[in-house]
Assembly symmetry: C2
Homo-oligomer: 593 residues x 2
Amino acid sequence: MAVKAQVLYDFIAEAGNNELTVKEGETVTITNQHIGGGWIEAQNSRGEVGLVPEDYIEFGKPAPSFPGATSTAAPTPSVGNAASTDLAFFDSYAPASAPAHNQASNGNDPWSVWNADPSGGSSNNWASNPEGTQTGKGAAGDPWGSVSQGHPQAYQGPGAEDDEWDDEWDDVKSTGGYAESEAGEGGALQRGGPHASSMKISLNKFPGFSKSGPELYLLCKQVAKSKDKLAIYLGEVGPVWSYPDTQLDCVVADPKKGSKMYGLKSYIEYQITASTTNRPVNHRYKHFDWLYERLLDKFGSAIPIPSLPDKQVTGRFEEEFIKMRMERLQGWMSRMCRHPVISGSDVFQLFLTYKDEKDWKTGKRKAEKDETVGVMIFTTIEPEAPDLDPVEVEQKCEQFSRFTKAMDDGVKEILTVGNEHWKRCTGPLPKEYQRIGKAFQNLSSVFTSSGYQGESTLTDAMTAAGKTYEEIAQMVAEQPKKDLHFLMETNNEYKGLLGCFPDTIGVHKAAIDKVKEGDKLVATSKITPQDKVTMAKRVSTMSYTLQAEMNHFHSNRIYDYNRVMQLYLEEQVKFYETIAAKLRQAHSQFTTM
Amino acid sequence: MAVKAQVLYDFIAEAGNNELTVKEGETVTITNQHIGGGWIEAQNSRGEVGLVPEDYIEFGKPAPSFPGATSTAAPTPSVGNAASTDLAFFDSYAPASAPAHNQASNGNDPWSVWNADPSGGSSNNWASNPEGTQTGKGAAGDPWGSVSQGHPQAYQGPGAEDDEWDDEWDDVKSTGGYAESEAGEGGALQRGGPHASSMKISLNKFPGFSKSGPELYLLCKQVAKSKDKLAIYLGEVGPVWSYPDTQLDCVVADPKKGSKMYGLKSYIEYQITASTTNRPVNHRYKHFDWLYERLLDKFGSAIPIPSLPDKQVTGRFEEEFIKMRMERLQGWMSRMCRHPVISGSDVFQLFLTYKDEKDWKTGKRKAEKDETVGVMIFTTIEPEAPDLDPVEVEQKCEQFSRFTKAMDDGVKEILTVGNEHWKRCTGPLPKEYQRIGKAFQNLSSVFTSSGYQGESTLTDAMTAAGKTYEEIAQMVAEQPKKDLHFLMETNNEYKGLLGCFPDTIGVHKAAIDKVKEGDKLVATSKITPQDKVTMAKRVSTMSYTLQAEMNHFHSNRIYDYNRVMQLYLEEQVKFYETIAAKLRQAHSQFTTM
């Protein structure tokens, strides 16, 4: 039974995806309305059949209400605000979700907030954000980013939770390399697309008018059950998380191409095996992304959650890309496994060890309903140590912010220099060695043509020397993959991680500022004297958390840099030794005189 | 007694040379007329005293007759034409001097004459040279090149033979490096100033109208005394010169600054010690240049005489320049010493072993009066082998010209590539290693500021690694001087030598062409049948000479390239091994995990 429909907007098919290009006003025949995932199969007047987004089609019923013409328009994610208290002293209250996801990351220096007044602790340190950055989270699932041109996006609403969209068709186009940021400072590297952005919080410059999350926790009734409590101990290096006896680890491997919608859409599935179960589970990139969003919601205020590796639209089935993405997903997962709080969380355990599809879906739903998110995570933290003086809290916070800013600069410098070096090693340098090699060989050929006796010892040796330089050229070109790659990957990971600190530290700064306003707020009867005492105690808990997190960061950093520097130098030694050996061999072919 | 004089031309004093700037029409007072060397001391109206070229001054006697307003205008050198025969079949006869010295060398490809018809042997292969290139030889002694601006040059005539001008004040400005030729083909290197030019012969394209030297020899009465005879034997590799039992060698060393004209003019004197006498003699650059001119006059038609290293006006007392010039003079002298014909010649022996000033001057005068120059050198050569067939002579000639052209290309390619490599090794590459080193050290500093315990093992190691890369940067920058330098010098020497071949081979080509015309010339009664027989015999002698010379060239070439390639590779091995060792040391400072 042929159903006719009207095309509402132009849609350009993506090659190889069985899509159908349609024009606004065109009439098509619906051939399959039950494809799912927001698609329908349609046939145009020329008899061509293909998939079209169902929102682009009008069946005679009213056109759907589109959220607008921009790709970032999307509903705010459903985050738990159940614990919110109606705080009278906030002129206008914004929902205390996890720090919002700032899509406009390129050129937006997450550290700029520290530039205004690096010494002070007043809320003047924070850049105002009147427009708000709490947008675009939903857009991460937008399958149309790559074809969005002046028409509304086919949007997946909250009801599409079990929809199996391949969100690798994302709006992020990335080279997967270390491309330089055009807008960034002095050749600093920019990578990571939207996820590389920091988790900036909406804070207002003007004290008394700030609208943020910390107060939600500072004045709430603690509600966390004791089984969910996260302990912080005083270790040798200061406050530390409670680490499990055995460190969790996992292996991301065996990427496989899967397909859905009768083979019309394909995706890559990775096999993840946790060291605890030794039983592989399968996940697509979109599941990693889901996990990332959950972790960001739940822990982002206390723990910097590094971004996932880039999405990429083009070439997603190319071997190189898959290998690279897998390697980075492995790096991301390993880092998460190493974190005692994250690795022990229900949502992370679910991701690693779900038993079957039903288990996964139940767990997913539960995780999405988790109410202990945003600043409320601090209600679950119990430092086993005396309360800290607010002055000390502030000093620690400043110290961490200085350090992370400085390290961010240092890491970016290495990335910039490394990128330059990579370009030279894979571009002009091997070309030059090749030309040297060719020049020796050419001269050797000329010599061979001399007709003079006893020429061959020299010409053979010169040809060999020339070939050696050609080999060196190849070695030079291939070396970065063997050593510089890992140095870059580690520093890139740290760049991402450090990019999260301004927001994590920002939550603390905002809390400190609020505590400093305590007397004024009591005087104006906006809070009770008891509230003020509670706030001081809570900010102490936040500081222990930050310190534990910094100590976790430091210990990982020392481990990671020790490891990567060793690997780098080891490969560099091998590289130069191999060249020396090759040249020694070439040298030996000349007659000694 | 004050003598007044009129200034004829503007003269701009050279700084630091005690010269006086004077203006045309100005009246000066002569304070010392007996400075010598073309200079007088004069005082201007402001009381300033300094040296002025005497030719720029009019004492009341008629102004000297200037050779013209161009710096290349100079008399033809006095070369021996005594053996010339008035050959009726030459429409116009040019003096058969040694091949002329083409000053306009830049961009003037000495090989271009081979491009027209590489396979043929006709005189069409030769580019016409209607304007003649036999100019500029005298200009090499021009002390005014550096101030020549629209006025005649102070010229030293033939009578100034004992004049001790420091001809290092020459009109050649050179960097002493491997600067790229602007006019040359595809980045080929140009060095050597006027001396790097070939010794192009005036030859006319049109048979029958050619005006050249070979005929002078082809039809002359042989007059050389047997004591001066140069033997050629048939060796294993073909015709070879008669080599002395002990090879002559010499050491050029100990450059000393001398001065003359009451300390007003200074120069550098080198000490040359021949292996035969072990007694040092002193020579200035101008003496080397004199020797070069004599050797070119005497042997240039048969033996390619490589150019002397560049002259240089600026920085001539700088240590670097003196060292470089000495090194190149050493290379040039060693090459001359290795040549059995040159090393055994009177003029060369005089240069190396003169006993005292009187001995030197007597020898100089004798050498300058030598009449066995130009093509007449062939009258002294006696091949101890049967006459060659003219066809074979021509084939050999073509073979040599092809080989030398091909080698010239190969050598220039190495120079071009080497120059590029030199620039990279001394420019961007060490800068990059330095930046890598700095980046490691900076990150290490940041880490040190963390306040975290147990940081120092990592930071010490990272700082050490950073310093290692800074050391590598310096090594990279300094390496070319240790290896590439010698590769470049050797190839540069060969470039100069190969640049002489087109002319040397050209003399032979011209002779071959003349012999080919034999029948026609007999038919038109321009020569007798006996002359034709003589010509064939003589061209055979020329061919043996060329073959002996080529075999000498080949044997030296094999020796030189074997040596320089070994040296290059040896130093390269050391270089890479040292880097590997440094990195291994840096690696060892990281803790093993």
